[in-house]
Amino acid sequence: MLFLAFRHLISRKKQTFFILLGVTLGTMVYIFVSGMQLGLREFIIEQLVENDAHLKVSGREEWIEPPAMAEALFGPNKVVSWFVPPAGKRDEERILYPQGWIERLRRTPDVAAYSEQMVIQVIAAKGAVKSNATLVGVVPDRQRQVTIIEKYITDGRYTDIGQSGNRVVVGDGLLKKMGGRLGDTLLIGGTGSKPTPFKVAAVFHLGVQQFDDNFIYGALRDVQQLNGTPGRITHIAVRLYDVTQAASLANYLSVGAADKVQSWDQANQSFLQLFQIQDLFRIMITVGILVIAAFGIYNVLTIIVNQKRREIAILRSLGYTPREIMSLFLIQGLAIGVVGAFFGLGFGYGACRWLGIWGENFSGHFKLTISYEPSIYVTAFAMATLSSLVAGLIPAVAAGRMTPIDIIRQEG
């Protein structure tokens, strides 16, 4: 039946071409959109997971409450009325008992590495140019075990931060804003501390504006000193052997803890919700394409089956079985699906590559990353073939059910 099926397809070049185009286009769009969406997702997740930390311990923010304040100031059991009740954050964020955490993390088998951090808001200045920035104090050798920031160093060396010595790694966006270069000196001052010179030892580019325009990494001890709080840390970044365990471990560790423990996905729920919206969007396109392609195949095959009623009668009278008649039309639908899918895969891949090349020079909030995840291609192919099979089934079964005598009587 293969032979006849292909003759049918060839003899209707225009029709075949247009449905083929539909399937191809559908498959291609799916691959293109998926490549873009999943690429962005992979990128964001890499940023979130690999650059921040799988899990983070941070000081709980404490707020000043009037009764506690009254007790501290006036002694216990005094009734105090405030004209203006005291309010605000009690202290800078800090981890109260870092050593306890570190011992606990060391004893936790899921933990691969940890890195203490001191994060403060600073103003960086070069000459007259000033900019707000987030200064992260780290121990470089430990930090590099937790994140892959080293991968994104474009100039200089990450480890040049050293244990101390006022050397920093600066995001390229921030540096550009300030008109600075590698080797320049920036004046960095915290709230209430006097500006101190830091030398730019390295530059990083993550491709995420939020980081590149804001972040400065320095030695933990330098940052503690700048802030006037030796020995204090605000965060402990933790890397796990298995990132999928992050949320459950975070929940486990935060039980009874005075400090906050959050996994990367708990800390970034808004992004993950965005992914769900993307998924929904993709499912909608998928279903849309599926329906259009299937409907096209269904329509054309229904028309063909009707046009070919006499042929069906002849074939049956020559001894071709209902099953063979059915396969004659099923093959046609499937062939369009498979060939269309193949073209779609090719063009979709091409479009992704093209976008990738174009995206090299693209800069925005995120780096343009495209996913070539094989599952996208497998899904697209399965989708196209399956929908064409289903669409072909109805007319094909109808063709198989026709009896030669009914056809001949109706055709006269």
Binding site: S11, I314, S317, L318, T321, P322, I408
Partner: protein, 226 residues
């Protein structure tokens, strides 16, 4: 080897309208029989029942001792493929296939189309179709198309050939050619032929004539001179 018809009748519609009234007869192996009668007398209806395409309302038909109505789907299609050839009033060729491919269509089912290609070419030259092998039906005249259809029906050398007004759409010259080919098939390969026609001269070319009048057998034993 024969077709045996016993008390066969056929009704259509609701309430049932009888088109063929109880009839019994036999068509012997190698016989050339014509079914003759006026338009609407039930010739085509009878032919479709004899050729397994339709089933009787009452009575039964045995082909080679077997009842087609009790055969499985596979059996009946194998039987059609191997033992029966059809020629319809309209040529009914497959428009996408060339003349040669059309002739080989029945044997393609069993994958014998390459082995029997020489036979098909031989038949084409015998039928005056030499040089037209690779033409599509739309590039052939009506008479040529009908000859291709006959070659297709005979490619397997089936035991039975059923023809419904094979000359109906042809001029007298092409009609004669078709009739000559039928006779030739009957004589050289011993094919049993059942020919439906309303033309007396064609009906007379058969060994035996079955006459239908309003769905009843009028006469069926009159031997006509060969």
């Amino acid at each position: 080897m024969s077709i045996q018809v016993t008390d066969l009748s056929k009704s259509f519609g609701d309430p049932p309208h009888k088109v063929l009234h109880e009839m019994s007869f036999e068509i012997k192996n190698g016989e050339y029989v014509s079914i003759w009668g006026r338009s609407g007398s039930g010739k085509t209806t009878l032919l479709y029942i004899l050729s397994t395409l339709d089933s009787p309302t009452t009575g039964q038909i045995l082909i080679d001792g077997k009842n087609p109505n009790t055969m499985s789907v596979q059996e009946i299609h194998d039987f059609r493929n191997h033992s029966i050839g059809f020629i319809f009033q309209f040529h009914y060729l497959l428009s996408e296939l060339t003349a040669l491919e059309n002739i080989l269509l029945p044997v393609r089912k069993t994958g014998e189309h390459e082995a029997l290609q020489d036979r098909a070419l031989e038949m084409m030259s015998l039928f005056g179709l030499k040089g037209l092998e690779h033409r599509l039906p739309s590039q052939l005249s009506g008479g040529e198309q009908q000859r291709v259809a006959i070659a297709r029906a005979l490619i397997r050398r089936p035991r039975y050939l059923f023809a419904d007004e094979p000359t109906g759409n042809l001029d007298s010259k092409n009609g004669e050619i078709v009739m000559a080919l039928l006779k030739e098939a009957n004589q050289t390969w011993g094919t049993s032929i059942v020919l439906v026609t309303h033309e007396r001269t064609y009906a007379q070319q058969a060994h035996r004539r079955i006459e239908l009048i309003d769905g009843r057998l009028a006469s069926h034993d009159a031997q006509i001179s060969l």
